[in-house]
């Protein structure tokens, strides 16, 4: 939107305000270049959307929408192939929900601690640690999950193999912590001091104030952090691929499962024909998921802004 505004500004100046000197010419040229850069970003999004729809729809049409979305069997290379992605959708949903269930309490309590209770020194240390956590590449999470968590889950629950949905949930819950914590901390820091002082003056303890005044006041920001976390969990491929086992089973806590992302990642390199097209269709479904999550995120962010007013 902003790019378009500046662009229309540039066009207006070109028509009605002919540049007089070098500086104004430079200004005009740079405006055009910025406009083109802005168009490039929008163009990429448009291109990706169009490409995903065009390459994703044929296979869905050929397989059938119901068969594709609600089919429970994925056997892409079988003599009589079947392309049901319900196992992938459910695994992605359960995996994300599980990660959120573990991630929200830990993340929220960490955020309250960092924003309200921690000493400045500890706060600085913990904040940089969390920033570092968000910068760790997902393949490292996958590697540690594969080497440490998979055997640990197998031993703890007496299973033959620890590569299952539960392990993926554990890895994802750690990966989404930084999103939840850092956004929630910002929201909690923005709560007006007067709210808290008023609560304390009425005789509430500090903990009561944090959880009954500060957290409710910051709820839209916290919700945005959670949605960001959901987005990261849904879109994660590498770490999940390394710990989830990757068999196309219907999800179960101790079953080897495939997420939407890993279904694409593991088969794309060898895929051909309808199998390849179907992978693009999975991509389209994943794309729709992410778009929905972004819409929800926008809703919360807007809600937050209105609340502040």
């Amino acid at each position: 939107m902003k790019q378009q505004d500046s662009a229309s500004g540039a066009v207006v100046r070109k028509k009605f305000n002919k540049p007089h000197n070098a500086a104004e010419w430079l200004e005009l040229v740079m405006n055009v270049i910025f406009f083109l850069c802005g168009i490039l970003a929008i163009g990429c999004v448009a291109l990706i959307t169009v490409y995903m729809v065009i390459s994703g729809l044929p296979a869905i049409g050929q397989i059938g929408v119901v068969e594709f979305l609600f089919g429970q069997k994925w056997a892409s290379t079988a003599a009589e192939p079947s392309f049901g992605i319900l196992p992938f959708i459910l695994s992605s949903v359960y995996g994300t929900l599980g990660a959120i269930l573990i991630g929200i309490p830990i993340g929220l309590l960490t955020a309250v601690f960092l924003s309200k209770a921690a000493t400045p020194k500890l706060r600085t240390a913990a904040t940089s640690a969390i920033e570092l956590l968000s910068g760790i590449p997902s393949v490292i999470f996958g590697l540690l999950g594969m080497q440490l968590l998979v055997p640990a889950v197998a031993a703890a629950f007496g299973r033959a193999s620890g590569a299952c949905l539960l392990t993926a949930i554990l890895v994802l819950s750690i990966m989404i912590l930084p999103s939840i914590v850092s956004v929630s901390v910002t929201a909690l820091n923005a709560v007006p001091r007067e709210y808290e002082e008023g609560s304390l003056a009425l005789g509430a303890t500090e903990a009561e104030t944090w959880f009954k005044v500060s957290v409710p006041a910051a709820k839209s920001g916290i919700a945005a952090g959670i949605v960001l976390g959901i987005g990261r969990a849904v879109g994660e491929a590498m770490a999940v691929m390394m710990v989830a086992g990757n068999s196309p089973n219907m999800p179960g806590l101790f079953k080897s499962v495939t997420f939407l992302t890993t279904a694409i990642a593991k088969e794309m390199s060898y895929a051909s024909g309808l199998q390849r097209q179907a992978l693009f269709s999975i991509g389209l479904i994943l794309f729709l998921f992410i778009m929905a999550i972004n819409l929800v995120l926008n809703f919360f962010l807007k809600g937050g802004r209105n609340g502040e007013k």
């Binding site: 430079l26 740079m30 590569a163 080897s256 390199s269 060898y270």
Partner: protein
């Protein structure tokens, strides 16, 4: 002050953008020039190659496909570089399916496939350069050392789920395999006769990943190229036959597959490509293929 800053910033941005565009144009045009130069030299040296002097051959050969053929194609590339130093051979490890597709779509000069051609893959020819035994691997702690092909089929389809049913200690069998579309998986499943019927506990995307997963789980069983198996896992005998070069070559080891060069029938091959295929199937290459962990055909053919 503010205005000057902004203007100088704009100028820097503009300069950078222009520079970027110029570099992009420059590099693409120069690379086109380079590749056309190569192709013209390749055709001009065509006549001398027929005389058997490979050192004057030059050109590029694009190969790609089976990841299992990585070490074999690397060895062949190095060996061929000694006799024809001006020929560049590229290799893109994308999988057997992509190798065959590449040959069909003519994006690759030679597609590499660690399986035979399917019925719907027409217009291309497969030339077998080597054989590969698919080793059945278990954890070093496993008490089992031999399985029959039937038992393998039952284990991988989960008819047998406990090691005690095949002479091991009590414990659930963890079946580890490759992802759908993998040449090794296709090879294993078609040889054992369990196509589309396998129930895997883990599907991994690389031979090395299968081996490390088996090495870290005492209850696991998996399959991998003979060439990729080391000391970290135990290789089972199948029906009493050890998985080795000799048993693969004489056909007694049952779980084996071909390493194929896939070439498009409708494309006139350059002399460099012809010479490379000839080299790969010659006695000179046999030792290279053997060192790379696969089994050359030449000895058997005499």
């Amino acid at each position: 002050m503010k205005k000057i800053n902004r203007r100088s910033f704009l100028a820097v941005c503009g300069a950078a953008a222009v520079a970027g565009v110029l570099t992009a144009c420059g590099s693409s045009s120069s690379s086109t020039a380079a590749s056309s130069a190569v192709s013209s030299t390749a055709s001009s040296t065509a006549s001398s190659a027929a005389a058997g002097d490979l050192s004057s051959l030059s050109g590029k050969i694009a190969t790609g496909g089976s990841t299992s053929m990585n070490s074999v194609i690397e060895a062949l590339t190095e060996g061929f570089a000694e006799v024809a130093p001006n020929v560049t051979i590229s290799y893109d490890p994308t999988g057997s399916g992509a190798g065959i597709t590449g040959a069909v779509e003519q994006t690759l000069d030679i597609g590499l496939a660690s399986r035979g051609l399917h019925d719907d893959e027409t217009g291309v020819t497969a030339t077998t350069v080597a054989l590969d035994g698919i080793a059945i691997v278990v954890n070093n702690e496993s008490a089992v050392s031999d399985l029959t092909v039937d038992q393998l089929a039952q284990i991988f389809t989960k008819e047998i789920t406990n090691w005690s049913e095949v002479g091991g200690e009590d414990g659930e069998i963890v079946v580890i395999g490759r992802e759908a579309g993998s040449g090794t998986r296709d090879g294993f499943e078609s040889i054992v006769g369990v196509e589309d019927a396998c129930q895997y506990d883990q599907e991994l995307t690389a031979t090395g990943a299968v081996i490390s997963a088996v090495a870290s789980n005492p209850l696991a069983i998996g399959y991998a190229s003979l060439s990729a198996v080391g000391d970290t896992v135990k290789t089972l005998t199948v029906g009493g036959v050890e998985c080795s070069e000799a048993t693969v070559l004489d056909g007694t080891y049952e779980v084996q597959r071909p390493f194929n060069f896939i070439t498009n029938d409708s494309v006139e091959q350059s002399d460099a490509i012809k010479a490379f295929i000839e080299f790969a199937t010659s006695e000179d290459a046999a030792e290279l293929i053997r060192l790379a962990g696969a089994v050359p055909l030449v000895d058997a053919q005499g």
